[in-house]
């Protein structure tokens, strides 16, 4: 497999991105490039803008400044650009956000049938493949409320994978889980990383960061403060704020 190479255009690029909520400046001059197959862990204190950053990538939030490019498409407010970007990028939320009135299988087949217009049979075959991969294919006909938190989050990962995205965004996927269920979700994400998925993960699971991240990006107050490969990030953080943050995180674990 060719490793990330400088001449290759990045899969996701943010250039000089600025984002305001009303008068509040939530993202300040954010620059980040993510190559195909790269895994980024995004961390930082609560309220630093991590969710905002990844939600801008699939246009759940609009930016006021700068430029976002995904797989060559410049993300504008036009439906065409937004559709193109959302087809390439899947997202997993802290609160799962499965559709409660649909079975797990229906959750997984809805978007492929509506967006990609594949047949029901084909959508179900794809869904079973990915449910198998996250190891809950035996739960396919249950409703979300009948599953444990860990199973629901794995179902949500499978639902996103069914659209066969080129990149996946994770927004604190294990933060809402009971401790004993964190591992099953992280293992699923590690498996995905091993298979070469491009990933941006907002998480405070530093073990996960060490194991799979190519780069750890640290944010504070809407800015990217520091980024480095995990060994370097953890052993030799350069900024005072990074050190303070790591001190707090490690004290809690």
């Amino acid at each position: 497999m060719p490793q990330t190479n400088a001449s290759q255009t990045p899969l996701i690029a943010m250039e000089g991105v600025g984002k305001w909520y009303g008068a509040y400046h939530a993202l300040k001059n954010v620059n980040i490039q993510v190559a195909k197959g790269e895994k980024i862990v995004l961390c930082g204190p609560s309220g630093s803008g991590k969710s905002t950053l990844i939600r801008c990538i699939n246009h759940l939030e609009e930016i006021q400044e700068g430029k976002i490019t995904v797989e060559g498409t410049v993300l504008t407010d036009s439906t065409g650009a937004v559709d193109a970007v959302r087809r390439e990028v899947g997202m997993v939320f802290q609160s799962f956000n499965l559709f409660p009135h649909m079975t797990i299988l229906e959750n997984c087949t809805l978007a492929p049938m509506r967006v990609k217009k594949v047949s029901k049979a084909e959508a179900e075959a794809t869904a079973r493949k990915y449910l198998e991969r996250v190891r809950i294919v035996d739960q396919a006909d249950k409703y979300p409320a009948q599953l444990s938190g860990g199973q629901q989050q794995r179902a949500a990962i499978a639902r996103a994978l069914c659209m066969e995205p080129k990149a996946m965004l994770f927004d604190e996927p294990t933060s809402a889980l009971d401790p004993e269920m964190v591992k099953e979700v992280l293992d699923t994400m590690i498996g995905l990383a091993r298979d070469g998925m491009t990933m941006i993960c907002v998480t405070h699971e530093m073990g996960f960061a060490r194991q799979v991240a190519d780069r750890v990006v640290f944010m504070a107050a809407g800015e990217i403060i520091e980024e480095a490969p995990p060994e370097e990030f953890f052993s030799n953080p350069k900024h005072q704020r990074t050190r303070a943050f790591l001190g707090e995180i490690l004290a809690h674990h």
């Binding site: 959302r86 899947g90 997202m91 939320f93 956000n97 559709f99 809805l110 509506r114 967006v115 996103a160």
Partner: protein, 216 residues
Amino acid sequence: MASIGFNELYFLLQGLKWTVALTIIGFIGGGIFGLLVALARTAESKALQRVTTGYIAIFQGTPLLMQLFVVYYGVALVGLNVDAWIAVAIAFTLHASAYLGEIWRGGIQAVPKGQTEAAKALGLHYTSRIKDVILPQALKISLPATIGFLVQLIKGTSLAAIVGFVELSRAGQIVSNQTFRPLTVFAIVGVMYFLICWPLSLWGARAERRLQTAAR
């Protein structure tokens, strides 16, 4: 005093038929337009929101009786020579659309934002987000209030008598005037309303209990 026989009962049943027909028309017409009102009310466009907020405020802030008069004389004023029937059906449709629109607006807004976000992230467009994701949940949340409004609507149809429409209440009045047995006649009329409204109320209460258990 004349007795109440088959003919009188038959006349009351004819009235009941019109009550039911008017309710069904008001509910279906109001349901279709009410859905549009609810969608416009929850749309991203500020202009749509404002127009529908005003529409709802007007119909909730005036008596149904007045709405009936305005539509009844209004259609005549614009030169349309329509049947009392059609005028009344239009009035009930407008009335129901404002109330159902407001009830369903509440249901739509009670669906967690994460549902819309997940649907958007999957690339689903507005129509599919609404039809497949939001409405099934919103209508379930709104079911008790919707049934409650349906019961109000059934009873509200009695106001159509004022513009000469012979529904169940008006039929009762006519039979009572002919037979001079108002108590007996209106007891029968009351039982007829009750037999329709009571099961609906029970259904509404059950739907509400189910929602409460599901929320726990």
